[in-house]
């Protein structure tokens, strides 16, 4: 009896405490249950592969761990980190120097260069790798040219299938990340700082190193992290150039269905990714302060003087080897293919497949990101930001790990969807939806919360408000993000390669396969289509930076 009364006494007290707690978390602004539920489900799907891979790697047992730690992991660590660091440093140098030349000096044609130098971004590195194999490979254009000029006496010693080959290709096609972020930041830094420097009698280079560079550190750091994460997650270029990093090793282990080893290697790669992201976070916290208001007349540019020619040569040279050369190679081989009738109608089928996957991924990304963005920006709380951040998991993870996790889950637990196109779409959604979240969040922040708050206070359901008020307002932002997802998905290689059903090939897969079999006349047209379509949303990207 006393027991009963005790419970009666405590229960309401507990409940009210719970309510208080709940209110404290949500700051009195609790989302509807369905909105919260839908968002949690989406976030869980987004993190599913990661959780499953970690779970599997613990199941792998100490024997697998010891064997891999003894044999493969040290070498893979060295291969992966040395490549990542070398490419990051070099791309940073190239990206920062180009950004400075284009935004701050009287480089001839700087307004056009500003756009042209971002173009390598539309060349997927595996396509870049193909073109460099064609040019610098064992029987490539350079070899033939040397043979023609000097005969057999002169032998070519550069081996494209080596660390240096991968390093060259990855650098050329990733420097735009640093270039774009740094240019955007440079444009925001007031020129009064430079004028102060000049009044102190510094020359242009002193001003750059003593005044500008320290202010650029956060931007350069962010660009560098993008490059590093890209390099360690790349599969296509690395495997085409026969270099082995964690990512390609995981791919080959899973091809042989050596799941324990694949999970163990994945866990190490996840660890590297997390460490890099933590370093970036630390750098952001130390972010330097710089003034963005009252930008002075943009017209004052630094005169390059006697360095003008060498600077122009540097810019032209980089453009030639990172944009012009690949395009020329691809157009050349497309023409050969067209001339000899090697290009058949199957390329339309592959293009259609690619567009279907990319379209479905982009469409679903836009739809699914709406509740997440709404919850995050209209119901601030620890819970909503946790849900939101979890949804970014796939963005930082290498594609091979996403695919690996999904293979486990679907083959063992959801067999009827295994080996279907859905699996490919889900995997790409996990990887690319964060691009829509980013642009959707930006758009959301620009509309006043008062409008939908008042609509909700009038008794309209959350979903009604989202559909009729929020959605129309953030649509342009969502679509811009959707366009980026479309292109990312069109270029995507490892996930599609690992998850596609039998008989289903995309452009990217054909380009990869035909290029690795050295059937360049068939690989080139597909690669050109991917590049041309990718140019479209670049306009948005450049406007955002």
């Amino acid at each position: 009896m006393s027991h009963h009364t005790l419970r009666k006494k405590i229960k309401p007290d507990n409940l009210s405490r719970l309510f208080k707690f709940d209110r404290a978390i949500w700051h009195g602004n609790k989302p509807s249950r369905s909105l919260l539920g839908v968002s949690i489900v989406i976030a869980l799907i987004m993190t599913l592969p990661l959780l499953y891979v970690i779970y599997q790697s613990f199941l792998a047992g100490s024997e697998s761990w010891m064997r891999l730690l003894d044999t493969r992991i040290p070498q893979l660590l060295w291969n992966t980190l040395s490549l990542g660091i070398a490419v990051t440093l070099t791309s940073t140098f190239i990206g920062v120097s180009l950004a400075w030349l284009v935004t701050r000096t009287d480089l001839p044609g700087r307004r056009i260069w500003r756009w042209l130098l971002a173009l390598p971004l539309v060349v997927p590195p595996y396509v870049g790798a193909v073109t460099y194999i064609i040019v610098l490979g064992p029987r490539g254009w350079l070899y033939q040219a040397i043979q023609a000029a000097y005969g057999n006496d002169f032998s070519l010693t550069f081996d494209i299938y080596s660390f240096y080959g991968v390093f060259l290709v990855m650098t050329l096609f990733t420097y735009p990340y640093v270039y774009l972020v740094t240019s955007a930041s440079l444009r925001k830094i007031s020129q009064t700082y430079e004028e102060v420097g000049r009044s102190l009698g510094y020359n242009g280079f002193h001003i750059f190193f003593k005044i500008i560079l320290p202010m650029l550190v956060p931007a350069i750091g962010a660009g560098g992290v993008l490059v590093f994460l890209y390099v360690i997650s790349d599969f296509g270029a690395v495997s085409m150039l026969r270099y082995v990093t964690f990512t390609s090793a995981i791919y080959y282990q899973r091809a042989g269905f050596d799941i324990p080893s694949a999970s163990v290697l994945s866990l190490v790669l996840i660890g590297i990714t997390v460490i890099v992201l933590l370093i970036e976070k630390l750098m952001k916290q130390k972010k330097a302060y710089y003034q963005t208001k009252g930008i002075a007349k943009e017209s004052r540019t630094l005169s390059l003087g006697k360095y003008k020619h060498i600077s122009l040569f540097y810019v032209v040279f980089l453009f030639l080897i990172s944009v012009a050369l690949p395009i020329i190679v691809l157009v050349y081989w497309t023409m050969i293919g067209a001339g000899s009738g090697l290009i058949d109608s199957s390329i339309f089928e592959y293009t259609l497949n690619s567009f279907q996957i990319a379209g479905a991924t982009a469409g679903l990304s836009m739809i699914l990101s709406v509740p997440l963005v709404y919850l995050y920006s209209r119901h601030h709380s620890i819970v909503s930001s946790l849900i939101y951040k979890l949804s970014y998991t796939g963005y930082a993870l290498p594609g091979v790990i996403v695919a690996l996790g999904l293979v486990f889950v679907f083959n063992n637990h959801i067999p009827f969807l295994y080996n279907t196109v859905f699996l490919v779409i889900i995997a790409q959604l996990i990887r690319f939806m964060p691009q829509v979240l980013q642009s959707g969040e930006t758009a959301m922040n620009m509309i006043s919360p008062r409008i939908d708050e008042s609509a909700r206070s009038l008794g309209h359901s959350t979903w009604k408000v989202i559909f009729f008020i929020t959605l129309p307002a953030i649509l342009p932002g969502l679509l811009a993000g959707g366009a980026l997802v479309f292109v990312s998905s069109l270029k995507e290689l490892p996930v599609t390669l690992m998850l596609r059903p039998p008989g289903f090939d995309t452009l990217a897969i054909r380009v990869y396969y035909q290029a690795s079999e050295a059937i360049y006349a068939q690989a080139a047209p597909g690669a050109l289509i991917i590049i041309l379509v990718s140019i479209l949303p670049l306009y948005y990207l450049l406007k955002n930076y």
């Binding site: 493969r72 026969r242 091809a255 042989g256 269905f257 050596d258 295994y418 039998p502 008989g503």
Partner: protein, 347 residues
């Protein structure tokens, strides 16, 4: 311009979303189809499958580059009807795991019994032998090894540009090692692996890389299957190559042979199509199409090899091991190779 672009992209996205769903629902149709998993080079298989589709009207869905362990992993959720493999060891291994089904197709007697499983759970259609492709400009035929064992005794460091092998995980290398284990036992085989790992000048992903490298003079000779030599001879350039079949003398081991063939999967989703495929494939014309551009040698000795100068199986001194023995070594040969220090995958 901005909004036009946006609506263009949305339209495209929604359109492809719709057609995408359409394509997905297609797969549940009960149209006649055949799902093929293959571990053989796509170029050799896709013409054959196109011909099958043309002859029978059955739609073929193929997945290339499949390793046998994928079929093991999918045993509770079988996806494929047919597994085409370039390694009999893998087929016999799947057979021992009871994943393949007994068959009795027409014209089965055209394939000698040693080249099929006990109840035709797998059937080999083309054959290849291991040997050394060499560049005639770089090395004299007499300096090329004539016995597998010579790779232990001689380090070939005096040969300019050295010799090339594939990574340990390559199917051809695995079955090569299995055959040596059958012949020599594990200790001597391990010694052989250690020697080639230490002494070879290069380790490549696949045999295609080796034949090109030897043709181009990047290496003097390489350990490959004979059909890669046939392929290199047909190249417009870099084709001054020769081939040595090792262990051919009286009393020696004989050339190590492996085959390519196929098996039907138990619980296959399209059983009828699979039976049609098997019967179709054993027609002599299609046995030749199976060999196709690979330039391997057909197992059926009545057929003229597509590469006419090819040495027929019956003209070779061949190792006396029944091919199905390879299945017994399939699982642990990889471990032996790794333990001997030859990496399964390139580092």
């Amino acid at each position: 311009m901005k909004s036009n672009f946006i609506f263009g992209v949305t339209g495209l996205a929604l359109l492809s979303l719709l057609t995408g769903c359409d394509a997905v629902s297609d797969s549940t149709d009960d149209n006649k189809e055949l799902v093929v998993y293959s571990s053989r080079n796509e170029m050799f298989v896709s013409d054959l499958l196109d011909k099958f589709k043309e002859d029978t009207g059955i739609e073929v869905k193929a997945l290339h580059g499949v390793e046998p362990l994928q079929i093991l992993e999918e045993r509770n959720n079988t996806q494929a009807d047919v597994f085409i493999s370039n390694d009999i060891g893998a087929l016999e291994y799947l057979n021992q795991e009871e994943l393949l089904k007994a068959t009795d197709p027409d014209n089965i007697e055209s394939i000698e019994e040693v080249y099929r499983a006990e109840n035709n759970e797998w059937i080999a259609l083309s054959s290849r032998a291991r040997g050394f492709i060499y560049n005639k400009d770089l090395i004299d035929e007499s300096d090329v090894p004539t016995k597998m064992e010579e790779l232990i005794d001689n380090d070939y460091s005096d040969i300019k540009n050295g010799y090339a092998i594939t990574r340990g995980g390559n199917g051809g290398m695995i079955s090569n090692v299995s055959a040596l284990r059958y012949e020599w036992g594990d200790e001597r085989t391990q010694e052989w692996i250690e020697s080639i790992q230490d002494n070879s000048a290069a380790i490549f992903e696949g045999h295609g890389d080796i034949r090109r490298a030897v043709g181009e003079g990047i290496h003097a000779f390489g350990l490959v299957n004979n059909y890669y030599y046939h392929q290199q001879l047909l190249e417009p350039q870099d084709n001054n190559v020769g081939f040595v079949y090792p262990d051919q003398e009286e009393g020696e081991m004989g050339a190590i042979v492996n085959g390519a063939g196929l098996g039907l999967l138990k619980d296959s989703p399209n059983e009828d199509s699979a039976q049609v495929f098997l019967n179709w494939l054993l027609e002599e014309e299609n046995q030749l199409a199976f060999v196709g551009e690979s330039l391997e040698v057909p197992i059926n000795s009545n057929l003229t090899p597509p590469f006419e100068e090819a040495v027929k199986l019956t003209d070779l001194n061949v190792q006396e091991m029944p091919l199905r023995e390879l299945g017994n070594y399939f699982e642990d040969t990889r471990l032996l190779i790794e333990d001997a220090g030859l990496d399964l995958n390139l580092k």
